[in-house]
């Protein structure tokens, strides 16, 4: 990372629940430039390895599954070490019930030998109200290095989406992950290509709100229903700066590389006309 601010947001991120062991993905192709998903990490959890995904039901265009189970800080360090020895970085995903827990995890990882491999920290704030989002992001911002890219994951189905995004940026988030997953119950979600419309609606709401200056805007990551290059370009057209792939990788892991190429080609280059939101304008901006 440069002393001037976080590195640009990678065009493609990976959902932590979908890739519980990145070694599997690494044997299928080159992961350079793609942060390895690490976690979710929760303070006090001792699990040394991410357990497998639990899928309850497969339906048309999606599946009903459990949330990813949290792992320990040591498990995260081990995975970051694996990534670092291959010249890769990681996206540390943190979850917690208190702001102190979130900060403790971020501090522990950053103080460790493997801390340098953290390219970004994603804080899972789906379901939190805007005040909680503000407190969590502020605390994580204090705990993380100054130039660390922080992502706030919020739910596109949240009626207070704009308020949550505003709170996230006020708290120090440098990008907002717009999750299209639909909550089916406690820790249970519906994911898959059928959630694309939900995610796109969330992106659109944030783009319009940014144009109306109801929030300051930040790079947006589309996380829901991105299952191929066309869906990724739809997300870019709605204002996303980056996309996150999840269960699409189960259907076809090679979409990682086709989507990466499509997004890289679809992003505006220096000198291109820029859209009205901030999301695609300054991917390397300083965090607020």
């Amino acid at each position: 990372m440069s002393a001037r601010g976080p590195a640009p947001l990678p065009p493609v991120l990976l959902g932590v629940g979908a890739v519980s062991d990145p070694r599997a993905l690494a044997r299928l192709g080159d992961l350079s430039g793609i942060p390895v998903p690490v976690g979710p990490v929760e303070a006090g959890v001792r699990r040394a390895r991410a357990p497998g995904s639990v899928v309850h039901r497969v339906g048309v265009g999606g599946l009903d599954h459990d949330d990813a189970t949290a792992v320990s800080v040591d498990a995260a360090r081990e995975l970051l070490g694996w990534a670092a020895t291959r010249g890769l970085g990681g996206c540390l995903v943190v979850r917690g019930t208190t702001t102190g827990d979130l900060a403790a995890v971020v501090e522990q990882v950053h103080r460790s030998l493997e801390g340098d491999a953290v390219m970004a920290v994603e804080v899972d704030l789906r379901g939190a109200d805007d005040q909680t989002v503000l407190r969590c992001m502020s605390r994580v911002r204090e705990a993380a290095p100054r130039d660390q890219r922080l992502l706030a994951r919020v739910s596109a189905t949240d009626p207070a989406l704009v308020a949550c995004a505003r709170a996230a940026v006020a708290g120090g988030a440098s990008a907002v992950v717009v999750s299209g997953q639909v909550r089916l119950g406690p820790r249970r979600w519906w994911s898959g290509p059928s959630t694309a419309a939900v995610c796109l609606a969330g992106l659109r709401a944030l783009r319009v709100a940014a144009a109306e200056q109801r929030w300051p805007g930040a790079p947006l990551v589309a996380a829901g229903g991105v299952h191929g290059p066309a869906a990724a370009l739809d997300a870019l057209a709605e204002g996303a700066a980056s996309v996150q792939l999840g269960s699409a990788l189960w259907a076809d892991p090679s979409v990682l590389w086709t989507v990466r190429d499509a997004v890289a080609a679809g992003l505006p280059r220096a000198g291109d006309d820029v859209p009205p939101t901030q999301s695609r304008t300054d991917l390397a901006q300083e965090p607020s």
Partner: protein, 268 residues
């Protein structure tokens, strides 16, 4: 590896399965393919399907003149047609190792889960191994391509699932079979039973520890971990009593594993 575009060249009915041959444009990934490895057939989410098809590799033949071909056993309901284009990711995982000498071998399988044995029997016979096959199935129609198995094996025994343990013990103790190695494929509880019986007799066991017919297979590529399995090996060298088990991801670290990993106590 991001997959290869294969074309179906023949479809032959074999009970509940079709034996499907496909030509692949690049032979190199298939040169070292083995029975017990997997292929995934990615899906296009635009069709509404969200998970890939995952199949056992049922044959791979590389010929300098005719190129490379791959065999799969696909369910009849899939209605595979000649000329169909199929994208294949594979070969994936670790397959069955062939014995270093031409020793007698026993193969044990159940229903459609026995697909890897269909190719294995051919490979073993080419190596000069006398092969006995023991198969169980709840319905005679679910037995696997028996014509093929009978062509390559010295004997093929069929049993109902409830009779399998007794038949297995009989074959293991039968001087006419006298197996030196046991290979197994099928549901994990069956594999654990086979491993216990064989290890008790001091026989090495290799088992394909992934049940493609069960609900626990989601991706087949090692990403999701839905197939994670508790094994009795801690990955730290020779097994000792009292050591904890660990979680094995068959799609990534297997699917073929030593039988010792599937039983709770090492054979004495």
């Amino acid at each position: 590896m991001v997959g290869t575009e294969a074309v179906v060249t023949s479809v032959r009915a074999a009970g509940a399965h079709d034996v499907v041959s496909l030509t692949v444009p690049d032979a190199s990934p298939w040169v070292h393919a083995r029975p017990g490895q997997l292929v995934a057939v990615p899906t296009d989410p635009a069709t509404g399907r969200v998970l890939p098809e995952v199949h056992w590799l049922a044959g791979a033949h590389v010929d300098p003149v005719h190129g490379a071909s791959v065999d799969l056993l696909l369910p009849v309901q899939r209605q595979t047609a000649t000329g169909e284009r199929v994208r294949l990711l594979g070969p994936l995982g670790r397959g069955f190792p062939a014995p270093s000498a031409p020793v007698p071998v026993l193969l044990v399988g159940h229903g459609g889960g026995a697909v890897p044995l269909r190719w294995l029997v051919e490979v073993l016979r080419d190596r000069g191994c006398p092969v006995h096959v023991l198969l169980s199935a709840s319905d005679p129609d679910l037995h696997l391509d028996l014509v093929h198995l009978r062509r390559h094996a010295r004997a093929v025994l069929l049993a109902l699932p409830e009779d399998l343990p007794a038949t297995l013990r009989r074959v293991l103790d039968d001087p006419a079979a006298d197996p030196a190695v046991v290979y197994a494929a099928g549901p994990v509880p069956l594999l654990r039973g086979v491993a216990e019986e064989a290890l008790r007799r001091g026989l090495p066991v290799r088992a394909a520890a992934l049940d493609l017919d069960g609900p626990a297979v989601v991706c087949g590529t090692g990403l999701c971990g839905a197939c994670d399995l508790l094994v009795h090996d801690d990955g730290r060298g020779p097994r000792q009593a009292g050591r904890a088990g660990r979680v094995l991801r068959p799609c990534l670290e297997g699917p073929v594993v030593p039988g010792e990993w599937l039983v709770e106590e090492p054979a004495r």
